[in-house]
């Protein structure tokens, strides 16, 4: 017990908290970069696919559904390995790590965003569409002016949540040596042979981004509820 406390006390003077921090800060910037750009394209992809799933054309609906199911049904790790290694090996399509990471996030987030979009639109009371139609708006106009603005408002919390998920997902681009936070932290670990402080710090760095996001989202949700 006494030993343990002494051991823990060592942590307070450990140089590794400060040591790993520059690495993590450099890494988290790349994490954020990948996440923002990836989620941005994911949003576009997701909105298109989400609306495609509301389409009456069987083919469009089917394609969108396939994409969504395949992506949601496989680990993003497998997706990124496929994009980074398999495409390069077989088709000679080589993306650098950053691009591969951004593509993986975009494709992955896209599938989830599509479901958020579909769900958001579906959550709007049918009466809104009827009321819009009944005053003579076309179904496109009703979508555009009546349904979409309301749906968007409800989509913000799950979209924010998806942002957090994608942010966390970038961590596994460490396996393709993308210099994001986990990779950078592991670099430090590999050099120093010290595990505790870097990994603990890594957690803190993520929390420093995710917790504020979650708080903001929750506040927004509470506002929506009233």
């Amino acid at each position: 017990m006494h030993d343990l406390i002494e051991h823990l006390m060592e942590l307070t003077t450990s140089p590794h908290w400060g040591g790993v921090l520059p690495y993590l800060i450099e890494g988290i910037q790349i994490t954020l970069y990948i996440t923002f750009i990836g989620v941005f394209f994911g949003l576009i992809l997701g909105i298109v696919t989400g609306l495609a799933r509301l389409s009456k054309s069987k083919i469009i609906y089917g394609l969108a559904t396939c994409y969504i199911e395949v992506i949601r049904g496989t680990p993003i790790l497998v997706q990124v390995l496929f994009i980074y290694f398999a495409l390069a090996d077989f088709f000679g399509i080589t993306f650098d790590h950053l691009t591969a990471g951004i593509i993986a996030i975009a494709i992955n987030a896209g599938a989830y965003v599509a479901e958020i979009v579909r769900g958001g639109v579906a959550s709007i009371d049918k009466g809104q569409m009827e009321a819009g139609r009944s005053i003579g708006l076309s179904s496109f106009q009703t979508m555009r002016y009546i349904i979409w603005p309301q749906a968007l408002k409800r989509m913000i919390p799950p979209l924010g949540n998806q942002f957090i998920i994608s942010l966390k997902d970038t961590s596994l681009f460490a396996v393709i040596s993308t210099g994001e936070a986990v990779f950078m932290g592991r670099q430090y670990v590999a050099t120093t042979g010290v595990y505790f402080e870097p990994y603990f710090m890594m957690g803190l760095v993520y929390l420093s981004i995710t917790i504020p996001c979650m708080i903001i989202l929750r506040a927004y949700e509470r506002k929506l509820d009233v």
Binding site: A88, S177, A190
Partner: protein, 264 residues
């Protein structure tokens, strides 16, 4: 080879100067090409990160820097997990890979190698208190940790009945031994020795060097750079530059590797 000894001091970034001279020398290459050189995240003492500066250092790094000057190319280092280098060389993602990479026939089917530049081999490491394992013959059915995508991994699978655990980082394999999760680690001699001697206090090497290996620099298939690099390497063996680097990183002095490439 166009670089000369004077420019060995130049950092690759300051290529303006170098550029001018090359234009004078040759018309074919009016600019130094920037090659993507992949190196390992951590393979002491061949390449590792200086935790203070964040820069990569090591025997391989000195070597490639010198070679770039002598051969006349500019380069950009990409720090990649070892298994990613092997994969990336195969798919043409990188122009050059320098990562203490063992020359093997399998790899040579996918990409090219320079002449050997280091004599290595594989060896077993166990916890310093472990007296049960004396050689590779004692590890069948035991858990042996090593690094993914390396020749050690292949060797264990092909020549032993050990239960092989592989990690992206070799330190994690050593840690498994120290933490008692693995009975032994198996890896390249220079790295095992380095860790057994310095920080990995609880590790010791046992048995003989299991497989003689030589390291080569990897090139994209049919790369134009193989020949000039080989020539520059030979030069460095002769003029003592190689010996200087060797002494700096390994303590003793070796002027030239003796091992034969398995490809010859």
């Amino acid at each position: 080879a166009c670089g000369d000894a004077d420019e060995a001091e130049e950092t690759p970034d300051e290529n303006g100067e170098v550029e001018e001279e090359t234009t004078e020398d040759e018309e074919a290459t009016d600019e130094e090409e920037t090659l993507v050189v992949a190196t390992d995240t951590n393979y002491v003492p061949f390449e590792f990160m200086n935790e203070e500066t964040g820069e990569m250092e090591g025997f391989d790094i000195d070597l490639i820097d010198e070679l770039s000057d002598r051969v006349g190319f500019d380069y950009e280092l990409e720090v990649v997990e070892f298994d990613g280098i092997v994969a990336g060389m195969g798919s043409g993602r990188y122009d050059i890979g320098i990562a203490g990479m063992t020359i093997t026939e399998d790899r040579a089917e996918e990409f090219d190698f320079s002449i050997p530049y280091y004599d290595a081999g594989l060896i077993l490491a166990v916890h310093e208190d472990n007296e049960d394992i004396q050689s590779i013959d004692d590890i069948d059915d035991l858990t042996v940790a090593t690094r993914s995508g390396t020749t050690s991994e292949d060797f264990l699978h092909e020549n032993t009945e050990a239960n092989v655990q592989v990690y992206p980082q070799i330190l994690e394999a050593y840690m498994d031994v120290e933490a008692g999760r693995a009975d032994a680690a198996f890896y390249d001699v220079p790295n095992v020795r380095y860790h057994a001697d310095t920080e990995g206090e609880e590790l010791k090497t046992v048995g003989d060097i299991e497989q003689g290996e030589v390291y080569g620099i990897a090139f994209e298939q049919d790369s134009e750079w193989v020949e000039p690099v080989n020539e520059a390497l030979e030069e460095m063996f002769e003029d003592g530059t190689y010996g200087d680097f060797y002494e700096e990183w390994f303590g003793d002095r070796v002027e030239e590797p003796e091992g034969e490439s398995p490809l010859d």
